[in-house]
């Protein structure tokens, strides 16, 4: 339950060096410091993380689910945007 005193925070964890922070979930906390502590206690109990970001959920601007037709369907018919029509020379090796 979100309350004015304990807003919602989104938690991002970087599990290893060289990887990006990945969204893992959310939590309630009164401020950024306690949100970071709570993220440590909830989302890194099994050694999942080397770094944590917490972001106020209210700071996220999200796309509108009712606009997904306009937003995403035009991309579905443009298979030529996938780089699968090129012959990769053997000398290049694994890409």
């Amino acid at each position: 339950m979100a309350t004015p005193n304990t807003p919602l925070w989104e938690v991002f964890i970087r599990s290893r060096n060289g990887l990006a922070h990945k969204h893992v979930g959310s939590l309630h906390a009164s401020d950024a410091t306690l949100a970071l502590q709570a993220a440590r206690d909830i989302y890194t109990r099994r050694g999942e993380g080397l770094s944590i970001w917490v972001v106020p959920s209210s700071a996220i601007t999200a796309s509108d689910p009712t606009e997904k037709g306009m937003m995403f369907e035009p991309a579905e018919s443009k298979i030529y945007r996938h780089p699968t029509f090129y012959d990769v020379p053997e000398e290049v090796g694994h890409m």
Binding site: L27, L34, I42
Partner: protein
């Protein structure tokens, strides 16, 4: 009680390890009592996590005490088959959870000490205790940070949270002196560089706690009268209730496993 209590040969080193093990077990058990009852899910997890840190410390210390004693006791027997008078934990740590402020003040007072204590014990001449200290120090450092952040928010929060935090400080203050007291059995270990003299940690502890309490707009009591007894097995009534719950299963069904 259906099962007789064990006898313990309390040589200075066995007693020393048991005292610290009992500290960790009893406080860990207190924190575990919050499981399912904390003010919010996030704190429920945090308190249980810290309880598990302490349970891990207790296990290592009990196992070491058993090894040093060499009488066939083990971590389970120490935990489940000793009577209240054989428990050696600090009185502070057996005090009931009370409200969230009481739990956080108890946590601040003890973690502020444990953080310094384990850091100093990393230099112990006893290799096992030094290794336990190296692991425990990181855990205690986090417990101190966790409780410090809450103290500031409770003290400098609402009128209600301020009053509760101050009441908790006033209630628990008289139990802090025992952390810094020693007896003859520890004097030899300190002289032999196995143990650290807790009195040497007091100035830094007082500064840490004073700074946090000050930032929280709270005040430490002026009183310097301190309650003692836990280290020699003289406990408050609260520990009896705690142990009856902690030990009921093993006392009723000896050796039960699942």
């Amino acid at each position: 009680m259906a099962v007789a209590s064990i006898q313990v040969s309390e040589t200075p080193l066995v007693l020393y390890a048991l005292r610290r093990a009992d500290d960790a077990l009893i406080l860990g058990h207190r924190l575990s009592e919050w499981c399912g009852h904390a003010p919010m899910l996030e704190e429920d997890m945090a308190l249980a996590n810290m309880g598990l840190d302490l349970l891990g410390q207790a296990r290592e210390l009990y196992s070491y005490a058993a090894k040093v004693e060499g009488k066939g006791n083990d971590e389970d027997k120490f935990a489940y088959l000793r009577d209240i008078r054989q428990y050696r934990n600090l009185l502070l740590l057996e005090q009931p959870n009370g409200d969230f402020a009481h739990t956080m003040v108890r946590q601040l007072f003890y973690a502020g000490f444990a953080d310094l204590y384990w850091r100093a014990m990393m230099k112990s001449g006893d290799a096992t205790l030094a290794a336990i200290a190296a692991k425990s120090e990181k855990e205690s450092a986090y417990h101190l940070r966790h409780s410090s952040e809450w103290m500031v928010r409770l003290g400098d929060g609402t009128e209600e949270s301020h009053a509760r935090a101050q009441a908790a400080i006033d209630d628990l203050w008289a139990y802090t002196g025992e952390m810094f007291a020693i007896d003859d059995s520890e004097r030899d270990l300190i002289d032999g560089s196995v143990a650290v003299d807790p009195a040497s940690l007091h100035p830094q502890w007082l500064k840490t706690v004073s700074d946090i309490v000050g930032e929280a707009t709270l005040a430490l009591p002026k009183s310097d009268w301190m309650q003692q007894g836990g280290r020699s097995g003289r406990h408050s009534e609260h520990l009896g209730h705690l142990l009856s719950e902690l030990q009921s299963m093993q006392r009723t069904f000896p050796g039960a496993t699942w």
